[in-house]
């Protein structure tokens, strides 16, 4: 075990803790992973400290678990996989390093949350492509590193977007900057000549940021990240379309995205519409659920600097042809929820209480990636599995997010449950495992394997594991970075 | 000068592979994008025009290094010229000429192909491209009351060509041609037994001397007969008289027309009226030497301007295939009542070769048939029942390939359909 003074020397006494309450906070989360207590929690405030911590961990063979967002955590990735771990809590690294309107890019430290970045970016006239209603404590860097889906698929050219460059301390203690940030020279030297850190690829043949994304802290610790930003529209016109026929809405969605007409665009089932937009709880919740058709597509049209009204009206004309063909109608509100209200909500993090917790106090997410043609059958399969597990399918929230300009769909099942009710939580735990197994058998792709189910997911692709293990051996030869996660 | 004169051209090759495909903007999909039979069949880059030029440049520099493989490459090329058209969309350089020169060089060095040697030996002996041909050249015309142009004054000499004259299955083309000309009231004749091979195919095979020999004999005969216009029904003959004879300054003022051009003119002049319906869906195959290689010769002499550009003084005109004979046969087909005309993907200047050119039908009949099969498949894909061509060599190889593959596609020469229609 690392001696306290060594940690204190690096981060200062105030930033090292082994108080049981502090340790408990990190030893479990809302997911079903086994609780494991860390031995220390340290809160570095800069890159230098992070690097020293990693070097120390290598010397002492100590597992490090990087955490950037605040609680509650949901996926088990920040719960130590083995005993004796040090939690490296980066939530205190809160600098917004810059926001650059001209180049549509921002750079921030890992502790910056959406709530913090959004106003700072807006001041300059830009914004980030964000996930759907993240919890208040969710950090931007955390979300990007997890390859969370974003609500504006039009601007997601690559699944790694909006991440641009990162500074990372690899597991072996070496500092590295990816993409344009790599050099030549320091970041400051690059700024001096007008360079910002935006181009994600390189240096050389690799696109190194892709190795860090999705790695759940197993390759190294990110000390800042830059991201591409989008302009703030000067005019927005959101719509909703409801239907009991998902395929029709998917068809519509794919055309809206293909023609690049819409910014925010996603589909929710009635349960999630209610879980997110019910104002008065629980009265509204039930009312919304009861009145809405099974599915609601939300989309938002936007205009920027030049003739925004004309742009939006040309979109409306073009979209009306699609809706006519499909026999649906774009409207301004459904079931008492207005499109404007949805728009306003999804451009911010979730208000408190976090929408996933509001209904029952806990939520297990099962999410997958798939293609258009498989989506409905996977949802059908999930309904069957829920039925079988005794979980009422009507209680299950579903969020469908087209990703990467329409090349695929993120489909998320939100299993709300009461954590105090052990039979309910056991049922959900079993359902979650059965779902991953059953959905995988039907062709679902689990690109972000967390917690208990990771092994089952990775076992399907031995060749990829082979390569990943080789890479892991290079960047974190002593396996100090978050051991026990993914396939490491 | 031989190969040497194309050193600069060969060195210009940038290895872009355009010569393997039809011009990029004409590519209509995954299928029928390839244009060079040789690389399509043999796959090693050496079989493409670019590969051939690079080999040429290297061997010009380091000496000819003959191997069996080299000769396999050299003789498995139809000299169809498709490569040149595709290359010259963007590049200013000769492509087919150096390829042909390379073959000539091989022949000079006695690295010949036995099958072609046999053909040429026969040419020297009999004046025809058809070794073992029996009977007299003009025998097909017996009883048809066709004038002998060597004896009577005619306006038009119909040069029948070796294959049509001797091949029992193809003599029908000569008869049809004669019938059409007679019907249109043309004062024409044939040279009968005095007709000789045009020599064009010998040139493709790499035997320029033998070609010239034929050319001179033919032109002497023509001069003597006082003929001003020659009509051929064979694309090889057309290209020989029109392009090669001109290139070697033998053509003089002789007017050379392919039968499809002539029929087109006769129809336009109202002398020929296709009135009978020929109900069929047909597509047209551009014979290489009527199409892109039928483009008139452009005499040019000049010097490279020193400097960074491959440019000449005076500017060098390239024959890029734009001026071949493309529309007249199409116009004729479109004038036939009842005929439903469809186009294939690879047409006109970027047409796919039938497979018979460059001596390949003799040196490697399997490859020739393979090439023909590709074309047949393309023709069938248009929904056509018939593939119409304007050269007996095409008809021959198509029919051979069809016989083997069992396709139900019918092959016609354009004169056969016109004959049906009048």
């Amino acid at each position: 075990m690392i001696a306290k003074e060594k940690l204190v020397k690096i981060v200062g006494a105030a930033n090292v803790s082994d108080k049981p309450a502090a340790l408990d906070e990190y030893s479990s989360d809302i997911s079903f992973v086994n609780p494991v207590r860390p031995t220390w929690v340290v809160k570095p405030k800069n890159t230098d400290a992070v690097q020293k911590l990693i070097k120390l961990a290598n010397k002492t063979q100590t597992p490090l678990v990087p955490v950037s967002s605040g609680p509650p955590h949901f996926r088990g990735d920040t719960v130590p996989g083995i005993g004796g771990a040090v939690i490296v809590d980066l939530s205190g690294m809160k600098k917004i390093i810059f926001v650059d309107r001209a180049r549509r890019v921002a750079m921030i430290e890992p502790g910056v949350t959406y709530g913090e970045l959004i106003p700072a970016a807006a001041k300059e006239g830009i914004r980030i492509n964000m996930p759907l209603l993240p919890r208040k404590t969710k950090t931007v860097v955390g979300s990007m590193l997890e390859r969370e889906p974003v609500t504006m698929p039009k601007y997601q050219w690559d699944i790694s977007d909006p991440l641009a460059c990162i500074e990372v301390i690899f597991g072996n203690g070496n500092e590295f900057r990816t993409g344009q940030a790599a050099g030549p020279g320091t970041v400051k030297e690059q700024w001096a000549v007008g360079g910002i850190q935006k181009a994600p690829y390189g240096p050389g043949i690799a696109s190194w940021h892709r190795l860090i994304q999705g790695s759940q802290g197993t390759m190294g610790i990110v000390t800042w990240a830059s991201m591409r930003c989008e302009l703030l529209p000067s005019l927005e016109e959101p719509f909703v379309v409801s239907s009991s026929d998902l395929d029709t809405l998917l068809d519509m969605t794919s055309w809206l995205i293909r023609l690049r007409m819409v910014n925010e665009c996603f589909i929710l089932n009635g349960t999630n519409m209610a879980a997110i937009f019910a104002k008065k709880w629980p009265k509204d919740y039930q009312a919304i659920k009861d009145t809405l058709p099974a599915w609601t597509l939300f989309y938002n049209l936007a205009g920027y600097e030049y003739y925004p009204e004309e742009r939006i009206s040309s979109y409306i004309t073009d979209i009306s042809q699609i809706t006519r063909r499909l026999g649906v109608e774009s409207v301004k509100s459904v079931g008492g929820v207005s499109a404007n209200e949805i728009l306003k909500a999804v451009q911010q993090p979730s208000p408190e209480p976090y929408w996933k917790l509001r209904y029952k106090g806990a939520c297990e997410d099962v999410y997958l990636l798939t293609i258009h043609d498989k989506l409905e059958s996977l949802i059908g399969e999930m309904n069957d599995l829920a039925d079988k597990a005794g979980y009422p399918a009507s209680d299950m929230g579903i969020y469908i997010q087209p990703i990467v300009q329409g090349t695929g769909y993120h489909c998320e099942f939100n299993l709300f449950y009461d954590p105090a009710n052990s039979s309910e939580s056991n049922r959900v735990k079993e359902l979650s495992a059965a779902a991953v197994k059953g959905l995988m058998a039907k062709g679902a792709f689990f690109s972000r394997p967390y917690g208990e189910n990771a092994g089952m997911i990775l076992n399907r692709d031995a060749a990829t594991i082979g390569v990943l293990n080789k890479l892991k051996g290079l960047f974190d030869p002593n396996n100090v970075m978050n051991p026990g996660k993914i396939c490491f | 000068m031989g190969l040497e004169q194309y050193k600069g051209d060969m060195e210009m090759c940038c290895r872009c592979s355009a010569c393997k495909f039809i011009p990029m903007q004409k590519v209509k999909g995954h299928q029928y994008a390839y244009v060079c039979p040789s690389i399509s069949r043999y796959n090693f880059h050496a079989y493409s025009a670019g590969g051939r030029l690079n080999i040429g440049a290297a061997m010009l520099k380091d000496g000819m290094k003959y191997t069996d493989k080299l000769l396999d490459i050299v003789y498995n090329c139809q000299l169809c010229g498709a490569c040149g058209v595709s290359c010259n969309y963007a590049m200013d350089m000769e492509v087919l000429e150096p390829i042909n020169e390379f073959r000539i060089k091989c022949v000079e060095d006695k690295k010949t192909h036995p099958a072609l040697d046999k053909i040429i030996a026969n040419l020297k002996k009999q004046g025809s491209m058809i070794p073992g041909a029996k009977g007299k050249r003009g025998a097909w015309a017996a009883g048809l009351k066709i004038k002998d142009a060597t004896k009577e004054k005619v306006d038009v000499l119909y040069h029948v060509g070796c294959l049509t004259s001797y091949d029992k299955n193809l003599q029908k083309l000569a008869k049809a041609t004669a019938k059409i000309l007679q019907k249109a009231g043309v004062n024409f004749g044939i040279a009968g037994d005095a007709e000789m091979c045009c020599g064009g195919r010998a040139y493709q095979m790499g035997y320029p001397k033998e070609f010239l020999n034929q050319a001179k004999k033919n032109m002497a005969m023509i001069k003597k007969a006082g003929v001003k216009t020659v009509v051929t029904s064979c694309a090889d003959g057309y290209q020989a008289f029109k392009v090669l004879y001109d290139r070697f300054d033998l053509k003089g003022e002789l007017k050379v027309l392919h039968i499809s051009e002539y029929i087109d003119k006769l129809i336009r002049d109202g002398k020929l009226k296709p009135r009978r319906k020929v109900e069929m869906a047909a597509t047209y195959h551009d014979p290489c030497r009527l199409g892109r290689l039928g483009e008139p010769w452009v005499h040019w002499e000049g010097k490279k301007i020193p400097g960074d550009r491959f440019v000449f003084d005076p500017p060098k005109p390239y024959r890029r295939g734009a001026n071949g004979v493309y529309e007249p046969p199409r116009d004729v087909l479109k004038a036939i009542p009842g005929l439903k005309f469809t186009e294939m993907t690879r047409i006109k200047e970027y047409s796919w070769c039938c497979g018979a050119g460059g001596g390949v039908i003799e040196s490697n009949p399997e490859f020739a048939k393979w090439t023909a099969r590709e074309r047949i498949e393309e023709a069938v894909s248009t929904g056509a029942e018939a593939l119409v061509t304007a050269c007996p060599w095409c008809e021959k190889i198509f029919n051979e390939a069809i016989k083997e593959s069992g396709s139900s596609l019918k092959v016609y020469d354009i004169v056969e359909l016109v004959e049906k229609a009048i």
Binding site: G195, S314, S447, A463, T464 | A58, K69, P315, N323
Partner: protein
């Protein structure tokens, strides 16, 4: 170095007699190198077997698609993939296509047009493979480089078949990342050049909506194909500006307004090359256009999804150009030339006429990334060309550079080259000095580093990436049989 007979036989038993050759006669056809053998595998299994044999016998190999731009060590096994030429899938709903190495861009694009789709065509031309990454004319709309790859089937240097992302787990091509960290991290990125060791045997590429016709209405004969009409809701224009700053103002404005299908920062010389059919015409046209432009400029294609969309885009385009003092090149407003260059940029994707036709040599500095930054550097690099122009050492292009915005101006490419006569040693030396100095300036002033430059200096200045990369390569290729591929600019 020839293969031993028994080794040759082993390879032959994989691909068949017809598909392997070590005859010296074929070698000069490929490159100036002599290879141990050229092998034509017909499918992934054969590629894998060949790679395994290479490992067994410690023979170095490299694959080619069309082989235009590869650079190869001598004596290697050259794997020519031209027999692998199938389009495996075009998924319209999920906007991706899966291709084998020898599907060229022109083929895939023609198939896609029929379905109202398009994809990123490399500026090299549609004569190149559709499968490998690259960037080109339509990057504004179709992005560029590795960002267009989804799942990839990759035969590793050791001969394992790795199928990235969803492909490995669920046999779907739509996603190349995960589970966990993405294997795409090591499967190619962007310029500067280089290709990951091993062999890509299939790849899924992203598709984009194509608002144009299912087939261009082409008339005429090569080399002068024209459009019989400009397709509905499409327009092509060239605009020149009073200064680079003004040009950039318009370029980024158009990117942000999301109105251009293509925005290509061609200079007058490149426009001239593309619309002319021979060198002489090219030179005359260049002289004409050079007089007509007021300064640097770019070429734009707009394409509306509907008449209303087109009208909107045109209005915004004209407004932004006007605000920046841009002037439309009258010559290109002639519908015939407009059609030629539209087709040239979309269907041919330019390149050969503007690079190789003149017949000289050119030395180039290309860079992907932050366009405003690289433009700033390129102004200096262009100024540095001027003394060479004055001395008559290089072709006069007014000190021009070129480039374009990628992803509606989020990213970009800038390139500058000097055309000169390779037979003039003074010119060659001067150009090489220019190239070295401008690369050095870029490096020292911290604009960018050409990773084609000296690694001992550049590697450390770029976070020692080259050491990391060597380690990755060593881990993947313990026998050292699969050197990384050269040049994929």
């Amino acid at each position: 170095m020839a293969l031993k007979k028994d080794v040759y036989k082993e390879f032959e038993s994989v691909v068949g007699e017809e598909n392997i050759c070590d005859d010296p006669a074929i070698m000069p056809a490929y490159y100036s190198n002599k290879f141990a053998a050229v092998i034509l595998p017909g499918n992934t299994a054969e590629v894998q077997a060949v790679v395994k044999l290479c490992n067994k016998h410690k023979l170095v190999f490299r694959p080619i698609c069309t082989g235009w731009s590869g650079m190869f060590p001598p004596d290697i096994i050259l794997m020519d993939l031209r027999r692998m030429n199938h389009i495996i899938e075009i998924n319209e709903k999920n906007m991706y296509a899966v291709v084998e190495p020898y599907v060229i861009s022109s083929q895939l694009q023609a198939e896609l047009f029929k379905r109202g789709l398009n994809f990123c065509i490399k500026g090299a031309g549609t004569n190149c493979t559709a499968m490998l990454r690259g960037h080109g004319h339509m990057d504004q709309t179709t992005s560029g480089d590795d960002r267009n790859h989804l799942a990839i089937e990759w035969v590793t240097p050791e001969g394992d078949i790795v199928r990235s992302g969803a492909l490995g787990s669920s046999d779907e091509w739509f996603c190349g990342d995960g589970p966990g960290p993405s294997i795409r991290s090591i499967l190619t990125s962007a310029v500067p050049p280089g290709v990951t060791p091993g062999v890509f045997t299939k790849a899924a590429v992203k598709l984009y909506h194509w608002p144009g016709p299912s087939e261009f209405p082409i008339a005429g004969h090569s080399p002068k194909y024209v459009l019989s009409e400009i397709p509905a809701n499409m327009m092509a224009r060239y605009y020149s500006f009073p200064s680079v700053e003004k040009m950039w103002q318009a370029e980024i404005g158009l990117g942000e307004a999301e109105v251009c299908y293509e925005l290509m920062g061609f200079n007058a010389a490149m426009v001239a090359a593309n619309i002319t059919t021979c060198n002489e015409e090219d030179e005359a046209m260049f002289n004409r256009l050079n007089k007509e432009v007021q300064g640097p400029g770019f070429f734009v294609i707009i394409a509306g999804n509907s008449p209303a969309d087109f009208a909107y885009k045109k209005k915004v385009l004209e407004k932004i150009v006007e605000e920046a003092g841009g002037k439309s090149l009258k010559t290109l407003e002639d519908p015939e030339l407009e059609g030629i260059i539209m087709c040239q940029c979309i269907r041919i994707s330019a390149s050969i006429r503007e690079t190789f036709r003149p017949g000289g040599a050119f030395n180039s500095i290309p860079i992907m990334g932050q366009r405003d930054l690289t433009i700033k550097w390129a102004i200096g690099a262009g100024e540095a060309k001027k003394p060479l122009i004055e001395k008559g050492l290089i072709v006069d292009d007014g000190g021009a550079f070129f480039g374009w915005g990628v992803e509606q101006g989020h990213l970009g490419k800038t390139e500058i080259f000097c055309k000169y006569s390779p037979s003039n040693p003074t010119a060659k030396a001067a150009v090489e000095t220019w190239q070295r100095e401008q690369n050095r300036r870029a490096f020292e002033e911290r604009y960018f580093a050409s990773t084609m430059g000296p690694q001992d200096e550049i590697g450390p200045a770029l976070c020692n990436y080259s050491q990391w990369w060597s380690k990755v390569v060593k881990a993947l290729d313990p026998n050292g049989v699969s050197p990384e591929g050269g040049s994929l600019v």
